[in-house]
């Protein structure tokens, strides 16, 4: 039992805790940038964390007609998302958790969370909830295959669906310009926008029935349940950020995990995430929310891009 392995386990156990803190901050950071871009002071970066604390302290109110599933859902959503983020290399390449859950399982876990989220939306029996669930499932039905295609592109060139192996492969390959990666990256970004409910697919800031998707589902939640749901959503955002940052730009991840390297890697990854967040904020301020039925076209574009990525991978780069 050399310290190498203990290091890996340490990384695996610490990673979710770090992300649990980092995710709200990332959201706060995005909000901050956005309000800056809109010439507002905006809330502090810490604000989301404060909100969570407040929500946890509040007493939840559950609709009379809600079934047990309504109360179980937040935990399932939270747990699955947490597990998902645990299986993405944050700072160290080699994570034991990646052998438990490869990239397909990752998508599956997100799907599990979404399944319960949508069910919870329909449980109380409000029109909003059903509407949100329907839209959410539509968006995800189009987004999920695109995402799988994107990661398949990486998997096919790395000959593995294990995230660590993929990262390692990309790290070894160094800077290679692959058309497939370009397509996959673009596609993944579009998917990330759709899946995390950002503009132009969804608008996290409003409760307008015409626009909202994600918010409509958690409308009936309050107190700790709401907190868990929100937290899960923030984790999801962070997760996509991580995927984009660490799969396509894996530079700086720790080969062999020692506290020092770990912190260095963490700093680098944090940097990447902040950058991504800023970009997202810029995008959101410049773009406008689009009608629900333009969302499919948006996602078809994503699907098309990723499929192109995959095809160009198997056709052009089979040698590489």
């Amino acid at each position: 039992m050399n310290e190498q392995v203990t290091g890996y386990w340490l990384a695996t156990l610490l990673q979710p805790l770090v992300l649990l803190l980092a995710a709200p901050l990332l959201v706060g950071w995005i909000k901050r940038i956005k309000s800056r871009l809109q010439n507002r002071r905006g809330p502090a970066v810490m604000q989301p964390l404060r909100d969570l604390r407040k929500l946890f302290a509040k007493q939840p109110v559950v609709a009379k007609t809600a079934s047990p599933l309504f109360r179980a859902a937040p935990y399932v959503v939270f747990a699955s998302t947490l597990l998902a983020v645990t299986s993405v290399p944050l700072w160290s390449i080699w994570l034991p958790s990646t052998t438990v859950a490869d990239v397909i399982v990752l998508v599956g876990l997100l799907g599990l969370g979404r399944f319960f989220l949508a069910l919870a939306g329909m449980d109380v029996g409000t029109a909003f909830g059903g509407m949100g669930s329907s839209r959410e499932m539509l968006v995800s039905a189009l987004a999920e295959p695109a995402m799988l295609m994107a990661v398949f592109t990486l998997a096919m060139s790395a000959h593995s669906t294990n995230l660590s192996s993929i990262v390692a492969f990309n790290l070894d390959a160094g800077v290679v310009l692959r058309p497939s990666y370009l397509f996959a990256l673009l596609g993944l970004i579009l998917v990330a926008i759709a899946e995390t409910g950002r503009i132009p697919v969804d608008n996290p800031a409003t409760h307008l029935e015409l626009t909202m998707i994600h918010e409509a589902m958690i409308l009936e939640y309050s107190g700790r349940h709401l907190a868990l749901m929100e937290w899960a959503a923030q984790l999801k955002l962070a997760l996509y950020g991580l995927l984009i940052a660490n799969l396509f730009f894996p530079w700086g991840l720790a080969e062999r995990f020692t506290p020092l390297e770990g912190l260095g890697a963490l700093a680098l990854v944090g940097g990447k995430l902040l950058l991504l967040g800023a970009l997202l904020a810029v995008a959101e301020t410049t773009l406008a929310k689009m009608r629900l039925f333009r969302a499919p076209q948006f996602l078809n574009l994503a699907f098309l891009l990723t499929l192109l990525g995959l095809l160009s991978n198997v056709i052009l780069e089979s040698g590489l």
Binding site: Q59, L69, F115, L119, D123, F128, G130, M131, S133, L219
Partner: protein, 670 residues
């Protein structure tokens, strides 16, 4: 144990036949059904499962001939690993069904539908399915196959007072007959080249590629028709829903798998040296079936019809696996072929379990509410908690979500597809990822479909009076659901032992198994190699449980543990009742808009009969009716009309025909 390997399955068949015969008496004494027939069926199931497990463990084929069949061509029965897997599959579902049936059949005991017919044909049906799996010669296989179709036809037509059921039954038997005949011809090709109706003789039949392709085409048509592949699927969504639910469970859960068995037996075992073009055909057809099946399922408002379409989808997924396996086998990658085959077979087993679970669950819903239309259901989870819980498991598995078994088999299929890079043919390298994409899309849509189904019928507020008065079913029915649900979870969390069993089948058929599949022990599933991909569902499940538990624990410690119940907020809109909920139609409407080109949606305001308030209704029909079935029917009727013109009634015309024939023949011979 020292009993001959074929004793158990033989006893299983005899037991179900006995139950069939005893059921004939249940007209006068209904208790016979509950007291004797169904227990016998359960026994048959146990025996079959036992036989399957036994041969899967030990392997090795046993072959004997029966004193039946044609002169010089006795019936042969054999039990090898492939048969064993399907015996196990049949056995498990049959056990569940026979535990379920007593409660479910109670209301038939006093109805006008004849209980004896139901019991008799159920027994024959089950026996025939087991016998098909055991048969080792073409004649025996075909006899049992057609018996299976015929008996299930009587079960579909069981409640024959509804003309829709009769129509469904007719369509079903017609297509089953056509399929059966084309399978028969497929066997005939092998028999004519192999010299003999026995499988042994067929295995070493030397066929030219053309003949082999013909045989494959016939078999694919026949078995595909039974399995419900697009475009020959039309009978399935008609026939499966109208049978009594436990029979639907058997038909969807087991009979389709028997078709899969037949296809595997025919193509991989008897036909051998597979060609790439076959694999591609199977792959494409499978992918199309999967996608179209799930989309149509998403559009249904009838619970059982929805499940039937989802069977089309899952059969499609299975055939994607088979197609991959054939492609790999044809392009000289036996290990990958084995992987894909294992994925397909594993998914067959899984689908049998969760589709059986879902149909039984639907049966419970119907039993409690006498309502198949989702739009009339709602809020059942609170009235039937156990049923609701078990069905939730089924829904998760059908949406192929971890950590359940549906995900495990789909994961394997993906792993197989992702090995496409190792092929040399660029076309295949690009085709396979596309099918993988369609598979991904299918999975996501399936999730949507079952969120809709479960959310509409089990959550929310009751939409109809019957749903408002629903009550939880008896213990037997719940126990059956529970059994299947637990099996789904078990196979999902611990797939490795089952995979170890299944991978013996490709070792028998393709000559190579999955050497690395389980080298990391019973926890880790590493189909190709640990470096390529690994999946530890048990850890995953534990992780989930841990995360859930910890969160819950921490929050319990938190300030407020008490939950107050209040009215739903609903953005402050006050008037919330069952009618303001989202309906199933509303839920699937955007999907219909996005994927509208793949099927016909005719929606609009309809006066419901009685001329009450107009409602927004939407029917969905798939294009193939117009493209394939209607023209054939029209052509047949036209032919009939022409033929009836011959019978003009004028004696002189008839004599004229005689003279003409005579002269024509005389002219021909000279």
């Amino acid at each position: 144990m020292s009993i001959a390997p074929l004793t158990l399955p033989g006893m299983a068949i005899l037991a179900s036949l006995a139950s069939a015969l005893i059921a004939l008496g249940s007209g006068r004494a209904p208790w016979l059904m509950r007291g004797l027939c169904l227990p016998l069926l359960a026994l048959a199931g146990v025996l079959a499962a036992g036989a399957g497990v036994g041969v899967l463990n030990t392997g090795g084929a046993a072959l004997t001939s029966l004193p039946l069949g044609l002169p010089g061509h006795p019936w042969m029965i054999a039990l090898d690993r492939l048969s064993g897997l399907f015996m196990l599959l049949i056995g498990l579902v049959v056990i569940a069904v026979s535990v379920y049936a007593p409660g479910y059949l109670r209301e038939y005991e006093h109805g006008e539908d004849s209980l004896p017919a139901l019991g008799f044909f159920s027994g024959v049906f089950i026996a025939a399915m087991m016998a098909v799996v055991l048969a080792a010669d073409a004649f025996g296989f075909m006899v049992c196959w057609e018996l299976m179709s015929l008996s299930s036809y009587f079960l579909v037509a069981f409640q024959h007072q509804h003309s829709a059921n009769r129509r469904a039954a007719f369509l079903y038997l017609l297509m089953a007959h056509i399929g059966g005949l084309s399978i028969l011809l497929g066997y005939a090709v092998l028999a004519s080249h192999g010299g003999g109706l026995g499988f042994e003789a067929m295995r070493d039949a030397a066929l030219t590629p053309a003949w082999a392709t013909l045989a494959f085409a016939l078999a694919f048509l026949g078995f595909g028709m039974k399995a419900g592949l697009v475009p020959v699927h039309a009978w399935l969504p008609e026939a499966h829903p109208v049978a009594p639910s436990h029979i639907s469970a058997l038909m969807s859960g087991v009979m389709l798998k028997v078709a899969v068995y037949g296809f595997v037996r025919f193509c991989f075992d008897l036909l051998g040296n597979i060609q790439t073009s076959w694999g591609v055909t199977v792959l494409v057809v499978g992918a199309v079936s999967a996608l179209l099946g799930v989309l149509l399922a998403l559009m249904q408002t009838d619970l059982k019809r929805m499940l039937a379409y989802s069977s089309v989808e899952n059969v499609g997924i299975i055939f994607i696996g088979l197609g991959l396996s054939m492609v790999f086998a044809a392009s000289g990658a036996p290990t990958l072929a084995a992987l894909a085959l294992v994925a397909a077979l594993f998914h067959s087993l899984n689908h049998a379990l969760f589709k059986g679970l879902m149909f039984l669950g639907a049966g419970s819903v119907i039993h409690a509410t006498h309502q198949r239309n989702m739009e009339q259901l709602g809020g059942l989870l609170r009235r039937m908690p156990w049923t609701g819980l078990f069905v939730l498991f089924g829904a998760l598995a059908l949406s192929s979500l971890p950590p359940l078994n549906g995900f495990a088999s789909e994961w394997l299929t993906f792993q197989a597809a992702l090995q496409a890079w190792s092929l040399h043919n660029g076309l295949l390298r690009s085709l396979i990822p596309i099918t993988a994409a369609m598979l991904a899309l299918t999975g996501a849509l399936a999730a949507a479909c079952f969120v809709r189904a479960y959310g509409i019928s089990f959550l929310g507020l009751a939409r109809g009076k019957s749903a408002r008065k629903a009550r939880e079913t008896g213990w037997g029915m719940r126990a059956a659901l529970g059994l299947l649900a637990v099996l789904c979870l078990l196979l999902g969390v611990l797939p490795t032992p089952v995979i170890q069993w299944i991978e013996g089948i490709p070792r028998e058929l393709l000559g190579t198994g999955l050497p690395h599949a389980t080298q990391h022990g019973w926890l880790w599933l590493t189909p190709v190699s640990p470096a390529t991909a690994s999946y530890a569902p048990l850890w995953l499940a534990l992780g989930l449980a841990l995360a859930w538990g910890l969160t819950a624990l921490l929050l319990r410690r938190g300030a407020v543990r008490k939950i107050t119940r209040g009215n739903a907020w609903d953005c402050g809109f006050g008037t919330r009742n069952a009618r303001t909920q989202y309906t199933a139609t509303a839920f699937s409407q955007p999907f219909g808009r996005v994927f509208g080109m793949l099927f016909q949606v005719d929606a609009g305001l309809r006066e419901d009969e009685g001329g009450g308030t107009p409602r927004y209704l939407s029917q969905v029909s798939d294009h193939f009716w117009g493209w394939l079935y209607a023209p054939v029917a029209r052509a047949t009727l036209l032919g009939g009309r022409l033929a009836s013109h011959l019978q003009s009634g004028h004696l002189r015309h008839y004599l004229g025909w005689t003279l003409a024939t005579l002269l024509l023949l005389l002219w021909m011979i000279s």
